[in-house]
Subunit: 225 residues, 4 copies
């Protein structure tokens, strides 16, 4: 069980002038991120303090299930924003490096098609779009998330995270479908593709590390996938 | 985007006599797992065939969001069952090896406390309990999932997966809270701890692989976590 | 706030021989329904005992939100099963009376089309199919629910409730897609259409009662709908 | 099945100067409400056009389930906002009339306690707080909803609806926990309690209408509740 306390940090993006995303939005956004850290820590403490010999486990309602479920909302609220703030503050423009290369390989229609697909995904999500690297097969995919924790998947490492909660754009662009589209373009003007590529390298490193960790699971040995 | 077709495979557990889990339950269960593979492939095909220049992205309702969201239900339905069937068919008993060691380190009260905690979690979940390894901090946690895809998290590699959907136990033990408890004990009599340990080694290998993949993300450099 | 304690009752269906649905399934099912009553009462007590001047309201995690959210799971778990058990134990066959009449009017293709549509809905839901009467416009609709409380709507009175959780059919028919289909046919062999029609009369009575209750809301006055 | 097309209307609140809620927020909000009407109509058309003899019903993914599920998001998105806009534009202040009377009876601690409880609920919800009247027992309750359709219940008529999506307050007060609290106070300065009371009268009328509609369901006859 994770014991360490998380704390929000001031990513470099908070000290920069972003193109189209205001300081006020960033400061309000920071408060939400601080709230996720605080609640993650509170949930961890509760989960740590339970007396598991005595506590009720009940799938309709029980403190154990309540804390366990919303712990994932808090934790992903924290992790989502770490990824988001981490790759803001860059020069934007077209994807570069390994990310561009992988998209060109992976997507039918290549990078240009991905570029359209991810924008459509940002209009179709209610919370986040996560471009995630799959540790099982090395594929990359635009995941739609409807809240901090709805429709995440495991064995996945996010390399690009676009917050489309209304808090990310309502003040600067208006809480409408058009406002969101303008915000997404602003996001892409400020993204740091080098940071994205570092995350992708880590994801690929994770997959290689797993492969070298001794015996593969039976399925992969059989080459059946 | 992942193009490859998934297919259900006959894990060794299907050829064994399990203690308390009937052949009939396993065969019905296999059909569900086949269904997830089939639907994952169908969703991938749809997502691949969309014309992203033309398709509507809409967060209230759109084909793109519908397929993207339930794709994760299908995909995790497949992956969950691969993990589950993969570690059935063993000799059960107490956890051994690295898994036992990590639990002893991680849990207040050690392995004995985890053993109680995971059982309470199986009563508190509506779908699955996933014992997952966190790629960020190397912690291990009993995640509660309410369906194939509700409350999954990313940057997590599952090492132990207990299906508590009613299909896993209703026929053999009755679809009641007590029936579920009896089934969970049966699960633990049949788990293959060596397989669990192989998965944990892969998870730890993934974390090491990520760490060696060059520059760490800025946050980790700052040692702020 | 609702203070009264709910209690499970032995509906007449529990004393009958149902066609295809076993006594054992019904008894296991009764235990789940009892559990929902018990948890509804517990949640009500907690909600009643909170000190609202002091309690934390927090949307990430707070006891208030946890109890409030899963209260609806418990309450609808109770109400869903009251409707379900209430209309079991009948002679089945084709819909009759006002229900048949309304379906004939409401559905393109009439009752025969509804009969196909509701069966497809039972294969497409993860928890329940609710045939519900809308208090706003008097329409009737096959609602899909994915759990006891996912995708319910308000201003709706259910007149027919088909439980498609696996607990309703796994023991008797197997937890597969085909098993579910066989169960749904069994459900229709045991439904009491007179009971369904009583519920529909109450729903229509509710709509008329609302209309007679004095001033209409502004929108309806304007006839804009 | 409901065939009629819904259309957004300009409620009186759009022509008034609200205290603290800006015209710009109201206009952006109107666009969202229009979007829900449009998508409700689109989903109804799709559901009407399906060939139910041929269409696949599948609980993992199928067009039928996708449209049916997100139809409730669209429909409640529409209905929620009709209630919300409908009771904006009033003089605010303390609750009056039947609503005040019922709260005084229903809540331990009376209206003053409800007033604190509903404010805490607005901080604990991720989407809406619905003060709803229960058609079964005449109770009134602060329901928490996490999106347009998450955790709605049936047999419930809403009498007061507070939108706490970020679109309701981010522009005027900032998308923070404090901003939300300021907005909720602004909401209460603008609520029309007469409108709320009309809705409550309709809800009570609906309950009476159901009671007069002939035979009660068996349970209520037995007085077992």
């Amino acid at each position: 069980m994770p014991w360490d306390d998380l704390s929000a940090q001031r990513f470099p993006a908070f000290d920069k002038e972003l193109d189209g995303i205001s300081k006020q939005t960033m400061e309000d956004h920071f408060k939400l991120y601080e709230g996720y850290a605080k609640k993650t820590n509170e949930c961890r403490k509760r989960l740590n303090d339970f007396d598991y010999a005595q506590i009720e486990g009940n799938q309709v309602f029980s403190d154990l299930r309540a804390v366990s479920v919303d712990y994932t909302f808090a934790l992903l609220g924290f992790k989502n924003h770490e990824t988001y703030f981490g790759h803001l503050g860059g020069a934007g423009g077209e994807p570069t490096g390994r990310f561009a290369e992988l998209m060109e390989e992976e997507y039918k229609g290549g990078l240009a098609n991905w570029s359209q697909a991810v924008r459509k995904a940002t209009s179709a999500a209610r919370g986040w779009v996560m471009v995630g690297y799959d540790l099982n097969d090395g594929s990359i995919f635009n995941y739609i998330m409807d809240s901090q924790n709805l429709w995440a998947v495991y064995n996945m490492v996010p390399v690009l995270a676009i917050d489309v909660y209304e808090h990310a754009y309502a003040r600067d662009f208006g809480a409408s479908a058009d406002g969101r589209k303008q915000y997404v373009e602003a996001f892409f003007r400020n993204v740091d593709w080098e940071h994205v590529n570092r995350q992708l390298m880590q994801a690929e490193g994770a997959r290689q590390g797993a492969a070298q960790a001794g015996l593969e699971p039976k399925r992969e040995q059989a080459g059946a996938r």
